[in-house]
Each structure stands twice: as structure tokens, then as C-alpha cells.
Amino acid sequence: MTQLLLFNVTNGLIIGAFYVLMAIGLSLILNLSNVINFAHGGFLVVGGYLAFALQPYLGFWGALIAAPFLTAIIGWAIERVLIRRLYGRDPLYSLLLTFGLAFIFEDGTRYIWGAQGKPVGIPEALARPLSNSLFFITGYRLFMVGVVAVTVTLLFLLLRYTRSGVRIRAGTLDLETVAALGINVRALRSLNFAVGIFLAGLSGVLAGGQLGLEPTMGASVLMPSFIAIIVGGVGSLAGTLVGGLLIGVASGITAVFLPAASEAIMYVLMALVLMLRPRGLFGEEGLLT
């Protein structure tokens, strides 16, 4: 029993790491642009399928690097053409827009690549469990956690030590002052949006290696990402990080005792946090509107 529990906690952390990658991109965009990006799952799907399309030419490693960048470029273009127009309006406008985009992405991938799922191959060396007893820790899953850890660390370093990063953080706190200081807020938001979408694209490639690619796969990971943000607290990237890991572990532990509730537990956790600490674990008080 203890072993089973330990297995599932570890397993939950692995799954949680994946939610973190999704949720942090979502959170970045939400914090600076006030856009609830419903199309985030759609961008994940685009990233995954781009990797699938590029794999024959670039191999797995090439696709792993190229696909997120391409997704980010698509995201950047969409921000410039569509989303930018809705800044300054009620957030519900951009929500509706991204909601529509999510459908376009889903049906677009279905149109191009078909409704039937596509397999994404991963390097032979990663496709094996590391040990016989810890069979659920495969090379690939460990690699995934590694990629998430490196990416998130890099992102936090960028936000702390680069000029653009500091501006993004400042803009999250008080965009008006940042604008008043002569910083190009439009360009800053474009950059920030592209970074967020890059993370969605990367999640897509990573997910493609572990799951089958399917046009509808975005929707199933979008919800946990939202929950991660709400549990962690809107406005806090660190909160999103903790929130993602927390729901991963919670659903892992629940799977031992009551498998049917392993998904519901995320919502229970969210309800609890909202009742006891409505702003989320690390959320800012000021955003309680």
C-alpha cells in the first residue's frame, strides 16, 4: 500500500509537471494581457501536429525545437492581427475570440490531418522504463520533467534578469505606469503572448510523444491548467507552478483509493481553495474583483 501510494505521488508529480508547463503559458498571457486564452489547448494541438509533420525531416529532436518556435510565430501573428484589437475592452471579448479560435484549431487540424489520431515516435532510448520495479518512470517521462524544469527555470531567470522580463513583471503589476515610463507596451504584450504560446507548443510536442495526437486533445488538458491557475492564485506564476504540481499529486493519490474520483478531486481542491482562501494560494489581493 505504501509503495502504491509512493508510486502514485511520484506519478502525480510527473503529470503535474506537464500541467505546469501548460498553465504557466496561460498564466503569463492572463497576467499581462488580461486575456483568458481559451485557444491555449488549440495551440498545444498545433504544436503537436507541427512536430508530427516536421519529424520526418528533422527527427524528434529537431521537431522538439522547431515546432514550439513555429507555434509561437503563429501565436504572435494571431496576437498582432486579432487579439491586439481587443485590449482595453472587457476581457469577455477576447475570451469569446479565443473560444472561437479553439474551435478553428480543432477543426483545422481535423481538416488537414484527419480525425483519426496520429502516432508520434520518440527516440528508442527514451521509450523504456528505467527500472523494472519503477516501471512507470520511463526515460521519456523523466525527460519531460527535465524539459519542464529547465524551461520554467529559464523563464523565471528571464523574468528576473532581462530588461524585457522585468518589464513584463512590472506590466503585470501596473501596466499604466509602465506605459507612462515610455515602454512600448504593445510590443511587450506581443512578446509575452508569443512566449506563452511557445510554452503551449512545447507542451504539445511533449504530449505527442506520450499520448497519441488527436484534434480534441487540447480540451482535456485545458481544464486542469485553469484549475492550476485558480488554485495557485491569479497573477502569480509561482502560484501556478505550485497549483499544477498540487493537482497532479492530488489526483495521483486519489487514484489509489477512489480511481473514479481522480479527476473530480481537482475540482474539489479548487472549491476548497476558493472557500478558504478565495484569492488562491499565492494570488494577489488586489485582483479580487
Partner: protein, 422 residues
């Protein structure tokens, strides 16, 4: 300045919450599919989940149904009139399916209904068709009650019942691969009846169930369930989820190396799913409800060739055959009974045997009178990693073709009591 609220609108916690709630709803919204219509044509309707997790199999049913319509119209139609297929998307949602069915019957005036892949929707729309006295062939919903305790005089079914699927595979599994079974079961009507049927067979043979993991529809990560299944130390792990759930589950089983230690099997496997598996994940013992490579069986090769022309070169799957057979059955029986009346057609379809050019299988294939279930064969065999004999879509090695009479329980045991209107 620092303490004043920014004047730009901000996203608050409540907005995010509302958005999250809407995300749940979003999964049910969907576009719809439609086809052109002719004036004096006999309208038949198809309701299937063209969006959502079953989109790929539903699409194949449609390809099959369209070929049938084409062939029927080329041979003079039904009672001298052309038939026209109206297609609606149930979006894998019961409410939507019912609404679309009502629309097809009330507004479009269809004479015959085909669908749905999803068992729960199939059951619900069968109820509607019954109310409206329209002949309905369930093409792809497998849950038992459709031709069991919830059977209706106007409802027939082409695909197997879950009981038939379980019976086709269970004995072989037990004898050859072991008596301790662990189930991974999708948590809805289809999964439950499939699991119960297999569990009943196992009990009869004297085996043990080491556990049953109920996985919600749309599960992407099966690791928690697989950890439990593996810890229970079974001889066989039975993978019952379908579509993308099955693909994710199999991929994880293979990545975890579980297939090297435990036999992996399932009851229902489909070419759509197997084709989407990574080659290394194509393992295990399964049953197909129809298979496209049947050397020596008449008309199969022509059918495959006709479908290839209409599907961008892809071979027909069991689903393609379901769609084809459902529509063909309607035309055959209407032309034979010389009527469009739902009740008369339903009577005429009892014990109706499919001709060789429609059944496309070696065994006798007929709609059983007692429960309206098509007695169709099961193709039992093993998944193949890479296509055989140079064909990338030949992914299954058929070991036995078991006739429907052998896999179906007697109609007195299905719980079906047909009450005919007077």
C-alpha cells in the same frame, strides 16, 4: 500612483472561474453536417458523432453509408425512387443527438434512421424513433440493452453486442493466456456492459478478477490505473477503452514495458485505433467486428476497391461496413416488402438474411427475430506491428472467424421482449 487601481479592465478571479465553467460547456457545442436534397427522393437520416472522440469511426460509417446510397440509386433506388442521405452530427452528446433525430424525423420527414456510434446516444435516439414509428438500425452502439431489455420493435442492430464480443475472445484468452484478469474499463454504458460480459465468462470458466479500473471517458493519462493493475499481478490485462483513450492506454502500457510481463488483450479493436497506434504499441489479442482482408470470400475485394476510391485510398474498416450494411439492409427489405411503412418494414426485417454482396463474410449473417440483433461474425486474432505483405493497413492477423450464432447468447437470455403495435 502605485496604489491606485489601473484603469484598464483586469481579469479577476471570478472571470477566470466563469471561463473555466464555460470550458466545460464548450465540449458540447459543435458544428453540423448537411447534404443536398432532391425533390421526390426517399429521405433517410444518419446521426453520428462527427466531432469529438469518435469522429474518425463516425466518418467511416458515413463513407460506407454513402457508397450504399450510390449503389442503391444506380440500381433504381427504393421502389423506383432515389434515396437521399441526410447527415447530422450528434457531437457525442445525448441531448444533441436526440434533438437532431427529432429534427430529422419531424422537419425533414426521414423514413429510416441510422446511428449512433455512442451507445448512450444510440439508446436515446432509438427511443425517439420508436415514439415516431420509424425503422432504426443502430450501426455502431454496442451496449447490450439496445437489443436486450430496452429493445424496441422498430430497432435493429448491425454491430455486435458487448456480450458477443466478450464471448468471442474470452474462452481463447482463458485457455491460452491465463486465468487472472485485470480490467481497464471506460466508465460509461458500453464499458460497463463489456466488462460485465467478460467477467461473467471468466467466472463461468473458474478464473479470478484481480481488479477493475474504471477510467473516465477522455482520460489521457492511464499511469495511475496501470500502476494499480500491474501491482495486482494478473496474467492478462484487458484494455477496454476505445478510440483515443485506447491509444493513450496502449502507448503507456508499451512505454512502461507492461506488455513484456503480462499478456495484453482486449475485446473490441478497430482498424481506426490500431492505425493510430505507434507500431510498437500494436500488440495484444483482440477481436475485429469485420476485417477487410478475407481471401476467397466473395465480393469483399470489390467492396474494398470501391471504398478505396472514395476514401483517399484507405481500406474499409468494420465501421465502414456497418454504415454500408445498415443502409443496404433498408433498401433490400423495402424493395422486397414493397413498402415504406415502418411497421411493415420492421416485420419484414425479422430473420432477414443478408446476401453475399452485403454480408461480406464467410458465415451466415441474419437479423435474429427474437431480439433484432444481426448475427454477424467475430474476427479474432492478434495485432501486427507493421503491415503484412507490404500493405500498411494490414495490421491484424485473423486466427478465427466465429459466426454470430456461436457468440450471441440465445435470444431468450437477452432480456428482450418485443411488443409490437397493433
Amino acid at each position: 500612483m502605485g496604489h491606485s487601481k489601473p484603469s484598464l479592465p483586469t481579469v479577476g478571479r471570478r472571470t477566470v472561474l466563469k471561463a473555466a465553467a464555460a470550458a466545460g460547456v464548450a465540449q458540447f457545442a459543435a458544428p453540423f453536417v448537411r447534404s443536398a436534397r432532391a425533390a421526390d427522393a426517399i429521405k433517410i437520416g444518419m446521426v453520428d458523432p462527427f466531432t469529438g472522440v469518435y469522429a474518425a469511426v463516425a466518418q467511416n460509417e458515413l463513407i460506407g453509408a454513402k457508397l450504399a446510397v450510390e449503389q442503391i440509386n444506380a440500381k433504381g433506388g427504393v421502389l423506383g425512387r432515389p434515396i437521399e442521405l441526410l447527415v447530422e452530427d450528434s457531437a457525442n452528446d445525448v441531448g444533441t443527438g436526440v434533438q437532431k433525430t427529432r429534427k430529422l424525423i419531424d422537419r425533414d420527414g426521414i423514413q429510416f434512421l441510422v446511428g449512433d456510434v455512442n451507445s448512450a446516444i444510440a439508446q436515446a435516439i432509438a427511443q425517439v424513433a420508436n415514439e415516431k414509428r420509424v425503422l432504426h438500425i443502430v450501426s455502431g452502439g454496442h451496449t447490450d440493452p439496445i437489443t436486450g431489455k430496452d429493445c424496441h420493435w422498430n430497432v435493429y442492430r448491425v454491430c455486435n453486442t458487448t456480450k458477443m464480443e466478450a464471448n468471442a475472445v474470452a474462452e481463447l484468452l482463458f485457455k491460452k493466456y491465463g486465468k487472472r484478469w485485470h480490467f481497464i474499463t471506460p466508465d460509461y454504458a458500453f464499458g460497463h456492459t463489456l466488462q460485465e460480459a467478460a467477467a461473467a465468462d471468466l467466472k463461468k470458466f473458474g478464473g479470478t478478477i484481480t481488479g477493475n479500473e474504471l477510467t473516465p471517458l477522455g482520460t489521457t493519462d492511464f499511469s495511475a490505473y496501470l500502476i494499480k493493475a500491474r501491482a495486482a499481478n494478473p496474467d492478462v490485462i484487458l484494455v477496454l477503452p476505445q478510440g483515443s483513450d485506447m491509444i493513450n492506454c496502449m502507448k503507456q502500457i508499451v512505454q512502461f514495458g507492461i506488455d513484456k510481463q503480462v499478456h495484453v488483450a482486449g475485446l473490441q479493436q478497430e482498424l481506426e485505433s490500431l492505425g493510430s497506434h505507434a507500431p510498437e504499441a500494436r500488440v495484444g489479442i483482440w477481436m475485429f467486428e469485420w476485417y477487410w482482408r478475407q481471401p476467397g470470400v466473395p465480393h469483399v475485394e470489390q467492396f474494398v476497391a470501391e471504398i478505396r476510391k472514395r476514401s483517399g485510398g484507405k481500406v474499409p474498416t468494420a465501421r465502414t461496413w456497418f454504415g454500408y450494411t445498415s443502409v443496404m439492409s433498408y433498401a433490400l427489405v423495402a424493395n422486397r416488402a414493397k413498402t415504406l411503412d415502418g411497421l411493415k418494414l420492421a416485420r419484414a426485417l425479422s430473420d432477414f438474411e443478408l446476401p453475399a454482396e452485403v454480408k461480406l463474410q464467410p458465415n451466415k449473417c441474419y437479423y435474429r427475430k427474437g431480439d433484432h440483433q444481426l448475427m454477424t461474425s467475430s474476427f479474432v486474432g492478434r495485432a501486427v506491428a507493421k503491415g503484412k505483405s507490404g500493405d500498411a493497413e494490414d495490421l491484424f492477423e485473423v486466427d478465427a472467424v466465429v459466426p454470430g450464432d456461436k457468440t450471441a447468447p440465445p435470444d431468450t437470455e437477452t432480456g428482450c421482449k418485443l411488443t409490437w403495435p397493433t
